[in-house]
Symmetry: C2
Subunit: 154 residues, 2 copies
DNA sequence: TATTGTTATACTCTATAACTATA
DNA sequence: TATAGTTATAGAGTATAACAATA
């Protein structure tokens, strides 16, 4: 059951992400590595080797033709390469180059750097927060499939 | 000082907002009220009565000409109206109409509805989470001005 | 002369439709 | 005939530059 404190917690969390220091993190990181936010998101969200470009469209929730232009842009920067599908000669997949991997590592090191405000919490409080968010994520993963089932049955 | 648990907490929080149920909240709400995400953000982020359009450009971090088109779009839907500045006849401000206010209330009621995962936390845990995030926001507000000062001095 | 909001124009992001090669 | 990726084209979103009114 969600109590008032829970509602307040969510609201505060939302405020933190919509207005505070964390807000522009994705945008800053994109600038830093010279990619548009959309291209950065694509690079970060690239599934493992062997995924067809057509499946990427589904994964990203965009049109197939847009996958082509994203692939062109990332390839032009040397971050990915097109690779042929082993058995289906119509299909291609995108593989991350060493340069792309290095960029991704840089991206994550920037993205995962906590906002300074975290330093104002005691070590015990940081542990508490980690445990609570972990629980939330586990619950989220439990809840999501249930929602999919709901949509299917309606 | 930020300890490992704090880093993990931030990383988990980021995962929650980038991938979990909360991720598409803004987008869903925009659909629900028939605004593009950009227009919704503008409406939500509209400062109080009397703010000049030129100041909105600074506030939103966009060009002044874009403020004009945002104003046109929101005015076309009846959510805001242009009002003359009391003393400077060059300037105008945007005021939210009753219809705009009603829409905003609807928007916030949707936005502030906690993800279902919150219900998996006990009442005590929800209170704990609220207190921690509250602390984080207070620290964030303390940290932000310091950063502005840094930028100024560099 | 500088500033406010607007217009005209152009560039980026993303989608739709038509096309080529392969299944 | 259907599917994979591409191309051509069009629509949003956003910026730059030139403009009219006012300060």
């Amino acid at each position: 059951m969600i109590v008032k404190a829970g509602r307040d917690a969510w609201r505060l969390l939302l405020d933190l992400f919509l207005e505070g220091e964390p807000h522009d993190r994705m945008h800053e990181v994109a600038c830093e590595v010279g990619l548009s936010p959309g291209l950065l998101k694509a690079l970060v969200d690239l599934p493992g080797r062997g995924t067809r470009m057509s499946d990427l469209a589904g994964h990203w929730g965009c049109d197939a033709s847009y996958v082509t232009s994203v692939a062109d842009a990332l390839e032009a920067r040397g971050f990915v390469e097109r690779a042929p599908h082993p058995t289906d000669r119509r299909a291609k997949s995108l593989v991350v180059t060493p340069e792309g991997t290095a960029t991704l590592e840089h991206v994550f090191s920037l993205l995962y750097e906590p906002p300074r405000a975290f330093g104002e919490l005691s070590a015990a409080e940081q542990r508490q927060l980690r445990d609570l968010v972990r629980k939330l994520i586990e619950a989220d993963q439990k809840v999501l499939p249930a929602e999919v089932a709901e949509v299917r049955s309606s």
